[in-house]
């Protein structure tokens, strides 16, 4: 708005870019200077070379595609399920009271620990990976939606009721829109967690996806390949997160000046 904050944005961007250049330079020349062998930390150029190699000969694009598909499926199904259950529990205090100890227990249990179990059940397919992602995405979305529905101003509900609103109208015109900002906070967390769930699933078993490439690289002591996989996974997570933020900015445009990326 003011010249001051515009200058802040410009300086901040410059500093960010400078930091990136310093980081990449340190990656390229740092290991050699410090005497770290390239099988421990391969320099940037080696990883870049490995990237081209993996793209040409190791089906990097295919494995990335598999991971992206699993992340998308897990994220969409997990957040849908989380939102629906969140709304249902939010509207029924009795159900929430009855289910809360089990929900809490499931929430405390490390979801990734279920990966071997799911693979036992479903084999080396994409489904156990998707299932871990669903489970891990479910909770932040459900908890945020539940809390949001529970904290809707009762006077707003009364206002709608005084106009003779039906239960469905109260949901669609008050509760649902009120829950959107907290739900998006949950979706942002979920978008990054989905990648974690999928990778753990792929690490545990299977022969597809970036997680597989990761463990394959480890087995071959191919450090550059491990780095390539990590970079690709970060990229997948970043794009998923960005997608959520773009959707959030469009849907929640009415909120007073907010910086969606900065309040998590």
């Amino acid at each position: 708005m003011s010249g001051n904050s515009r200058a802040q944005v410009r300086n901040g961007t410059l500093a960010s870019v400078a930091l990136l250049i310093v980081f990449l330079a340190a990656w390229q020349w740092g290991p050699e200077l410090l005497g770290v062998p390239s099988f421990i930390v391969p320099p940037l150029s080696m990883v870049a070379h490995e990237f081209v190699h993996a793209w040409q000969f190791d089906h990097l694009l295919f494995h990335t595609g598999v991971t992206v598909g699993e992340v998308l499926a897990g994220f969409i199904l997990g957040s849908l399920l989380g939102a629906v259950i969140g709304y249902l529990l939010g509207m029924s205090p009795t159900a929430e009271f009855a289910l809360s100890p089990y929900i809490l227990a499931l929430q405390i249990a490390p979801k990734v620990a279920f990966a071997p179990l799911f693979i036992l059940w479903m084999g080396f397919t994409v489904y156990p990976k998707i299932l871990v992602a669903i489970l891990i995405v479910f909770f932040p979305v459900m908890v945020n939606v539940l809390t949001a529905v529970r904290s809707v101003d009762p006077d707003l509900i009364n206002l709608a009721r005084s106009f003779k609103a039906t239960r469905a109208q109260i949901f669609w015109k008050i509760e649902f829109p009120t829950s959107m900002p907290p739900m998006f906070a949950g979706l942002r967390i979920g978008s990054t967690l989905a990648v974690v769930g999928v990778v753990v699933g792929e690490l545990v078993g299977g022969n597809q996806g970036l997680g597989y490439l990761l463990s394959f690289g480890e087995g071959q002591a191919d450090t550059p390949m491990v780095f390539v996989s990590i970079v690709m996974l970060t990229l997948v997570g970043g794009i998923a997160y960005l997608g959520v933020i773009i959707a959030e900015r469009r849907l929640l445009h009415y909120l007073p000046a907010r910086s969606a990326g900065h309040n998590q």
Partner: protein
């Protein structure tokens, strides 16, 4: 009560008593006891009383949101059995929906009542124009000041074209100068449209400047203990009424009836919930 019997009664409470279960769930707490009052067509009546005397409970009963333990409220002679289209309420909070534009907020009530789009847009635009808010119709609530938001809330209340308005301390959250302007806007609107209103307020001069009559409620269990007919001209101009010398007499009398200035009562009031 001393109003002329020929005019139509729009809003009436007959022997209304309201009890709530207390915190332990065993005993019952009587919030209001045997309230009788009637508001005639086009009349503005204020209700004042100490904190916790059940004024807001009366309002909820009138709007059909709460059912009384005994007795009943009547609107246009019909017993209130639930929310009904002839009554609309407005609170201290503006309750504007942040994801709706000002125009959409004004249309909120009529939209729920399934009034056709063209008609609800026509009503909302007309109301916004009369409150000098037409240029803000496309804005979101956070762009508006507290006073403007409260005016939007009033427009939303009027858009459903209710016979009776129930106003619960509508201006207590805005600053003193804005409040006077809002009071004038409300008074003019009520006069021009001939609407009937029951106004709950803590502000004694607000009660006197805006009303035809002021009803005084007692401590809990609340009941109507006095009625003061405000015999001042210009009910549509509360700012002019503020210059009336008699205003202070009315305020003094209300203070008297509320025991304001007696220490014991003040402690009680401070301890009681709103």
């Amino acid at each position: 009560m001393s109003t002329d019997a020929t005019s139509v009664i729009r809003l009436e409470y007959r022997n209304v008593t309201m009890r709530f279960a207390d915190r332990t769930g065993r005993g019952a707490l009587t919030a209001i006891s045997n309230v009788n009052l009637a508001v005639h067509d086009g009349e503005v009546v204020s209700l004042i009383g100490p904190s916790g005397c059940g004024k807001s409970t009366l309002l909820n009963i009138g709007s059909g949101l709460t059912a009384p333990s005994e007795g009943a409220a009547f609107v246009d002679g019909e017993r209130v059995a639930g929310p009904n289209a002839h009554v609309a309420f407005m609170l201290q909070k503006d309750l504007l929906l942040p994801w709706r534009t000002i125009l959409e907020n004004v249309m909120f009530g009529v939209e729920i009542q399934s009034v056709p789009f063209a008609e609800r847009k026509r009503r909302a635009e007309k109301l916004l124009a009369s409150f000098n808010l037409a240029e803000f119709s496309g804005h979101y609530p956070h762009h508006l000041s507290g006073g403007m938001r409260q005016r939007v809330a009033l427009a939303r209340t009027l858009a459903v074209e209710p016979h009776v308005l129930l106003l619960d301390e509508p201006f207590s959250a805005v600053d003193a100068q804005t409040r006077m302007v809002l009071q004038r806007d409300l008074a003019r609107t009520l006069k021009q449209s001939g609407k009937t209103a029951l106004l709950i307020t803590h502000d004694l001069s607000e009660a006197v400047t805006l009303s035809d009559r002021v009803l005084v409620m007692s401590h809990r269990p609340g009941t109507v203990i006095d009625e003061i007919v405000i015999d001042l001209p210009q009910r549509d101009d509360p700012i002019a009424r503020r210059h009336e010398p008699k205003l202070n007499d009315y305020v003094a009398r209300l203070m008297d009836r509320l025991d304001i200035g007696h220490d014991k009562i003040e402690q009680q009031a401070a301890g009681g919930a709103a």
